[in-house]
């Protein structure tokens, strides 16, 4: 690994200036960047650490919603009681990344911008309707999380752009979310499939809104709008679940690789989606934390 000039500016403007240099990389927790650099897969000319920039760190209320600094370590999410109460699915996804030690460093911004199709927090964020605040030479823009990944290891960020914050809306009344993944091991593993589900149930248990997003079954984390639509207006009866599963099956394009076959991924996508919806619904009904 050739030594990368490292800098840790304490304001966004300076960070943007440094990040604009050709070959520069933003550094959050480094749990992907440093490993890929050591392995020779990346050779950044410079590393710009975001962790001294106030906006990139910490969890702040925004009305009834939340702003999460893009470089905030995942451990901090679990420690924020209000966030855990509002978006348990997002927090459980972030709490699955790596191990305790990895989560003390790893961030949501890094998980998103590393653009692995198997990133755990991304389907949960997408299901929750999270947005990313993108800062760049031309100013700031706010985009849905699903608009960031472009393919394995690629994002839609323009050169010099970075994600400074992630924003979560207020938890809607009657809302609940969940994230489930399958890995052969219990931890320190990469999702074979991950499913995030967020839904809203009215007083009668009828679903009024639903978002289903999947990881590791397509080149990017995938929002399957038709899957959510299949649930809306139903009480999540068998038929509705079957329609959701059909929509998922039609939308995903899993591949065979050494972690799993496409056929297995397809099968598991359905199993986990069914379970994630049940878990999100139980949370929506207040039956489960």
């Amino acid at each position: 690994m050739p030594p990368s000039p490292y800098s840790a500016p304490d304001n966004l403007g300076e960070a943007l200036g440094l990040a604009a240099a050709p070959g520069a990389r933003v550094l959050a927790g480094g749990t992907d960047l440093l490993i890929q650099t050591r392995a020779g897969r990346l050779a950044p000319t410079a590393m710009v650490d975001l962790k001294r920039i106030d906006r990139a760190m910490g969890i702040r209320p925004a009305g009834q919603g939340f702003v999460i600094g893009a470089a905030t370590p995942c451990t901090a999410l679990r420690d924020d009681a209000a966030l855990v109460a509002a978006w348990p699915g997002v927090v459980e996804a972030a709490s699955l990344i790596g191990s305790v030690q990895v989560r003390n460093r790893a961030s949501l911004g890094g998980n998103l911008c590393n653009a692995s199709p198997a990133a755990d927090s991304v389907p949960a964020l997408i299901a929750a309707g999270a947005t990313a605040v993108v800062a760049g030479p031309g100013g700031e823009r706010e985009v849905p999380v699903e608009a960031i990944p472009a393919g394995p290891g690629r994002t839609t960020l323009a050169p010099g752009e970075l994600v400074i914050e992630l924003r979560l809306p207020p938890r809607p009344p009657g809302g609940g979310d969940a994230y489930l993944r399958l890995t052969p091991r219990t931890e320190m593993d990469i999702a074979v499939v991950g499913v995030g589900a967020a839904l809203v149930l009215d007083g009668s248990g009828r679903c009024t809104a639903a978002r289903i997003a999947l990881g590791a079954v397509a080149p990017t984390a995938l929002l399957v709008e038709a899957a959510g639509a299949a649930l809306v207006g139903t009480k999540l009866e068998e038929g509705a679940i079957a329609a959701m599963l059909a929509a998922i099956d039609a939308a995903i394009s899993p591949i065979d690789d050494q972690r799993a076959s496409a056929a297995y991924r397809r099968r598991i996508a359905g199993v986990l989606a069914t379970r994630a919806v049940a878990r999100a619904a139980a949370r929506a009904r207040g039956e489960q934390a």
């Binding site: 690994m1 399958l182 052969p184 219990t186 931890e187 593993d189 050494q258 972690r259 056929a263 598991i268």
Partner: protein
């Protein structure tokens, strides 16, 4: 002859291990911690192809890079003689030499083809990229099926299957044939009331030690070579390096460094001869170390296996016949433990008619290496699975079925000799009586049991015991400590001498400072090196008694030794006492310092047997298996340090569970390994395992002063089938293919 009940002061207690504090504080010197002034950093260029002829290597651009001090290729190594090397799996010196550096052909992805030494690791790596290798890529075979197919690419054109009579006329990839044929297995199976069988497969698995291979080599000004390395045997390194490079053993001094796990995988050399050649060319010391990816691609693994088996019993569950054919992947060079596999496959049971045929198959995988009980787990997986099937078919409790057939003392062993004081029956009885075996299962949980054993070994060992002037005791051995053996040696010395454990220190010496010891492997060290330590301690006692006699002016045989002191019995000396410390303090001026060095090659080691009980919960929708409770029961002879023996059982069980559930080498169609790292080569993590309970069954070995039997390898033999038997019962389908990954359990066909 059973020894009289012995009582012990030190043996059987649980003192703190002498190497512990340095290890937990990071002070212990492992392979990469050792450095010399002026040391260069080496790097190895490895073949990207699974099979390729090396037409030429141009290193001129690498040599021209500033900071590069040496480049070596196969041409810089002498052609080693074809000499068989004893070890845990048979090997040949010529093959070892070709494995450390390819000559005309690269035989697997990761095979070393050149190496560089430079002033920094970065320069060394940059230099690798400047070496141009002209490869003629050849067709490859990474599986048994591909390697034994009629049109298979041939790895070695001079390999005519040993063990086949008559000698085949054409070379092939079949590297060894072994056969055992007693009675009439076919007829016995035809008449059996129940027959279980099938086609079983296991994948190559790595030993998974935490510490990658590393060494430092230098040439002294007088032409003597020095090597510092972490391994399972400094003497093993000395003899293999001498053989590979054509050096005199006395001209090589190997200093063992602390070892961060080996499990059999560090019973051969990979880097040492290369580092020495680089150091010779550069005129400076050179360190070579592997990355994790190099460890996976170029060292280990244990052989993968394809096994076809039929096992038959009469209606009462008495085994009547067995037929078994197995193929093991040797990797690039012959040697895959087919011999022990054939001998041990049915070693636990009385099966009157048996026909066992084993083959080793060379293929384009890293050359396989010993791994805990080499050869035994794969065949045990098939045999113990069949026993489970028979138990189900016949409606007999699986432990009961094994008890009906288990071998005991006096029964014929695998070598045709009667067994000594083995403890399989006691283990099965302990398993049946264990609360785990009768504990109710939670809904959705199932239980599997399996037994297994290992032959164990003795072998040559040397130990020295010396007294310091203050009476503290220095024990020196040549046996690297991979499982707490320093504690065991100190305890046996303390027990023999009658002094406190705390006064004994153990050093693992370099090859110039102690006589020869065979490597640490075969579960032999506490047994054989322990014998040497006890013998040396007894000689020290004899000398100490003589000195006391001299001081008291009486005959030595009137001086008794107990509780760490000489006791006079004759004449004036009666009632007089001289402690070991007092004698040591006077020794320099009363006959000279006291020490003894003893070399032994003890017979009388005994096989070890174990029985494991595994509960698991299967997620029927995903195929995911969770091991919920696990108990490992083993006849350990007598545990010198029970905590470290329990640790051996737990470690073996953990590795066996990994082998059963998720570990496997994965190769692409291009012959390249796709998972050379711990992220995708899935050893179990802590949260994957329950607490592994252990039961130490004590059936002392009458041929060891303290009853020791080898314990380190047996515990990896039962788990594959223990887990598979539990999962098979949960899935309602016999699990014949490892690893039982979630996908395999849910969708895996039964080919």
């Amino acid at each position: 002859m059973n020894p009289p009940e012995q009582s012990f002061r030190v043996v059987g207690t649980r003192p703190v291990r002498p190497d512990g504090a340095d290890k937990v504080t990071g002070r212990a010197l492992y392979g990469t911690d050792f450095a010399l002034a002026g040391m260069l950093h080496g790097a190895v260029l490895r073949s990207p192809h699974a099979h390729a002829r090396i037409r030429g290597i141009d290193a001129s651009r690498a040599l021209a890079l500033p900071g590069v001090k040496a480049v070596v290729t196969g041409a810089d190594f002498p052609e080693a003689a074809s000499v068989a090397i004893a070890g845990e799996s048979a090997a040949n010196l010529r093959d070892i030499a070709r494995n450390v550096m390819a000559r005309d052909k690269a035989l697997y992805e990761g095979h070393a083809v050149a190496a560089v030494a430079a002033t920094s690791p970065a320069i060394a790596r940059a230099a690798l990229a400047l070496i141009a290798v002209d490869y003629e890529v050849l067709p490859h075979a990474t599986s048994i099926a591909a390697a034994i197919a009629p049109d298979a690419p041939l790895l070695h054109d001079d390999l005519f299957t040993p063990g086949l009579k008559p000698r085949p006329e054409t070379p092939s990839n079949l590297a060894l044939h072994v056969a055992i044929d007693t009675g009439d297995a076919a007829a016995a199976l035809a008449g059996a009331a129940a027959v279980a069988g099938g086609h079983y497969t296991t994948q190559p698995v790595h030993q998974g030690y935490i510490e990658p291979h590393a060494c430092v080599a230098q040439w002294n000004a007088d032409g003597q070579a020095q090597i510092w390395a972490s391994s399972q045997g400094a003497f093993m390194i000395r003899s293999l390096v001498a053989g590979a490079l054509g050096l005199k053993q006395a001209d090589i001094r190997v200093t063992p460094l602390e070892i961060g796990g080996g499990f059999g995988g560090k019973t051969t050399v990979y880097l040492e001869p290369v580092a020495l050649q680089l150091a010779r060319q550069a005129g400076r010391p050179v360190r070579l170390e592997m990355s994790r990816s190099e460890v996976f691609r170029a060292t280990g693994p244990a052989p993968g296996a394809v096994i076809d088996i039929r096992l038959g019993a009469d209606k009462d569950g008495m085994l009547v016949g067995a037929e078994m054919t197995f193929h093991y992947t040797a990797g690039a060079f012959p040697g895959a433990a087919a011999h022990p596999a054939a001998l041990l496959a049915l070693a636990g049971y009385k099966v009157p008619n048996r026909k066992i045929t084993g083959w080793e198959v060379v293929c384009n995988l890293p050359s396989s290496a010993a791994y805990r009980a080499p050869g035994a787990p794969q065949v045990a997986f098939a045999v113990e699975s069949c026993l489970d099937e028979l138990a189900l078919q016949l409606g007999i409790d699986p432990i009961e079925l094994r008890l009906k057939n288990a071998v005991g003392p006096g029964d014929t062993g695998p070598m045709g000799l009667p067994h000594g004081q083995i403890g399989l029956i006691e283990c099965l009885e302990a398993a049946r009586a264990h609360p785990h075996y009768s504990a109710p299962l939670a809904p959705g949980e199932t239980r599997g049991v399996a037994a297994g054993g290992w032959a164990n070994y003795g072998g040559p060992s040397t130990a020295a015991v010396a007294l310091a002037e203050d009476g503290s005791v220095l024990v020196t051995t040549g046996s690297p400590d991979i499982g707490g053996s320093r504690a065991a040696m100190a305890m046996m010395a303390a027990e023999t001498l009658g002094v406190p454990y705390e006064t004994v220190r153990v050093t693992i010496a370099d090859t110039a400072s102690i006589g020869f010891s065979f490597l640490t492997g075969g579960s032999r060290t506490t047994f054989a090196t322990g014998h040497a330590v006890i013998a040396a301690a007894n000689q020290v006692i004899a000398t100490a008694r003589a000195r006391a006699a001299q001081i008291w002016g009486v005959a030595a045989d009137t001086v008794a030794w107990r509780d760490g002191a000489a006791h006079g019995t004759a004449g004036d000396s009666a009632g007089k006492v001289l402690t070991l410390a007092e004698i040591a303090g006077k020794a320099a001026n009363a006959g000279g310092p006291i020490s003894a060095e003893v070399g032994v090659n003890p017979a009388g080691w005994l096989p070890g047997f174990g029985v494991h009980i595994c509960d698991c919960a299967l997620d029927a929708e995903t195929g995911q298996v969770k091991v919920t409770r696990y108990t490992a029961i083993q006849d350990v002879g007598r545990a010198i340090h029970p905590a470290y023996v329990e640790g051996q059982l737990q470690g073996g069980a953990a590795q066996g569970i990994g082998w059963a559930l998720n570990e496997a080498y994965v190769y692409g169609a291009d012959g390249r390994m796709e998972n050379p790292g711990f992220l995708d080569y899935r050893v179990p993590v802590a949260s994957d395992l329950p607490m592994i309970d252990t039961v130490l069954v004590d059936k002392p070995n009458p041929d060891h002063p303290y009853g020791v039997k080898g314990v380190g390898e047996t515990p990896i033999v039962p788990p594959l089938a223990a887990v598979a038997n539990a999962v098979s019962r949960a899935a309602g389908r016999r699990q014949r293919h490892l690893p039982m990954s979630p996908e395999q359990v849910l969708l895996g066909g039964d080919a």
